[in-house]
């Protein structure tokens, strides 16, 4: 019997509303602090995890609103089997 995945379950509890273009869907936003450039620069590594079918086609400089905050896409990396995507963001 074929196993049918429901990826929405993974995002249901901690997902926040995200909108890019005409697509609005849930995604999980992480924002750990990071020190780069040999200790000279403090940054925040904004990373959105979402379904690839929703946001997998985003590319650098695309606009996306996450939980009512505007961000710009740095890069989008597919995860594992390609059903989820991890999108690195910068605050607009």
């Amino acid at each position: 019997m074929a196993f049918t995945e429901d990826l929405s379950i993974f995002l249901a509890d901690f997902g926040v509303s995200c909108t890019a273009g005409a697509v609005t869907a849930l995604g999980i936003l992480d924002m750990p602090g990071q020190v780069i450039s040999d200790g000279m620069v403090l940054t925040t590594d904004y990373t959105l995890t979402a379904k690839a079918s929703d946001f997998g086609s985003l590319i650098r400089n695309d606009a996306i609103t996450v939980d009512a905050v505007a961000y710009t896409v740095r890069e989008a990396l597919l995860l594992d089997d390609g059903r989820f995507v991890q999108i690195a963001l910068q605050k607009t």
């Binding site: 990071q34 200790g39 620069v41 403090l42 605050k91």
Partner: protein, 141 residues
């Protein structure tokens, strides 16, 4: 008393006052990282200092490498930093004695570290060689 080294580092810091775009964000040997909201900023710090005894007089000729790091954020970080670099360099080179404490100031190297971040970040380091002289037994004179 303060060593001539420290006086020279403080003089470099003071010379940079009014550098284009950084307001009061000019720091002496700041070890904490600079956040996006604190950029652009300048950090002045010593890198090394070596001594030579070139004469029979009881003096030491020192070669102090001073690093002036410019931290910026922007789509093209090195381009954002360019007017700051121009302004900072002119201020450092305006008085090659740094208030009478140095024999000479020479630019020796500029390096660029560009990184992706919550907004593209750049750290442009400008190294200067500051030559000065002290007594053999007293670093303050």
């Amino acid at each position: 008393m303060t060593t001539k080294r420290e006086t020279i580092l403080a003089a470099v810091r003071t010379a940079l006052t009014g550098t284009t775009g950084v307001s009061t964000r000019i720091y002496r040997s700041r070890v904490e990282p600079i956040s996006r909201g604190e950029s652009p900023a300048i950090v002045v710090e010593p890198v090394s200092d070596s001594a030579d005894q070139n004469t029979s007089l009881p003096t030491l000729d020192w070669s102090l490498t001073v690093r002036v790091a410019i931290i910026v954020r922007g789509a093209i970080p090195d381009q954002v930093a360019d007017p700051i670099i121009e302004s900072a360099h002119a201020k450092i080179m305006a008085d090659l004695t740094l208030g009478g404490y140095a024999i000479d100031v020479q630019p020796i190297n500029v390096s660029f570290d560009l990184q992706e971040a919550d907004q593209p970040a750049g750290v442009i380091t400008m190294d200067y060689l500051v030559r000065y002289r002290t007594s053999v037994a007293d670093l303050t004179t």
